[in-house]
Symmetry: C2
Subunit: 155 residues, 2 copies
């Protein structure tokens, strides 16, 4: 395996998990900065050409350990951790797709953050292609979205 | 930070990097299995409902270390590691979107593998939504695809 090290940190408007909009089908709109450490700046070469990026990051503010089953907020039923984006995972890695607004040196201005301020970034990769929407099935998330009385607020 | 540990391993037809189809815009079609370790099987609860999954894994067969700039095979120009899917990254984590064909206990039969047989899996997350194709820009990859004489073979 390997020893994870931050390549930079997230500058986000959120300082507490409770501030991050949650709920099924929510669209994250928060803007902020992916601030890359000076020694990694050459790795950003040519990144301006991509409209969207994958960001891999560490759930560094979650309690240690993991839950293989956790209750979905909208119905209280247990879901497997690998069928959810719960933070308490065997490897506490988060994945967020952000829109790249502009690059300013080693600062990437982005939209769509759901991370807390100061979150360590592990990796950034270009988002190149999408699965066509008509080929996607979203399991329990789609079922829950079809029952708005049980679902959470949408943004 | 944290100590990465495998939650399972990839069963893939590829045993050597040279066998994995490469090139711009290539569509991975290889089928195989994500074999989750017995102790993590409860974490797969309800995963059958999703058509596509994100798989996070370790580039365990790449030489240690990283290159912030590496040459793209199609034109020999240097690209930043964060604007590419090069294996030699500061944190050697791979990300692949696969189609879930079926679940058989702790074995997930999937299509779209680009990992080698035995690759350690770090995490699986449901793929829930796509960026509409018309909103995506793919930078140097798109430019290279527009010059077929310089591009690689497509699958």
């Amino acid at each position: 395996m390997f020893s994870p090290k931050p390549i930079g940190h997230v500058r986000s408007p959120y300082t507490n998990t409770s501030e991050v909009p949650r709920g099924l089908g929510i669209q994250q709109r928060a803007e902020g900065i992916l601030e890359i450490l000076p020694e990694f700046e050459p790795g950003l070469t040519d990144i301006e050409g991509f409209s969207h990026l994958f960001v891999l990051w560490v759930f560094d503010r979650s309690a240690a350990g993991f839950n293989l089953i956790s209750k979905a907020p909208h119905d209280g039923r247990g879901r497997g951790v690998f069928a959810s984006h719960s933070p308490r995972r065997p490897n506490p890695i988060g994945l967020t797709v952000v829109e790249l607004l502009r690059r300013d040196g080693r600062k990437l201005h982005v939209r769509g953050l759901d991370m807390l301020d100061g979150t360590p970034i592990l990796d950034i990769k270009p988002y190149q292609s999408s699965i066509p929407q008509e080929k996607l099935r979203s399991g329990w998330v789609a079922e829950a979205e079809e029952k708005p009385e049980a679902g959470s607020k949408k943004g």
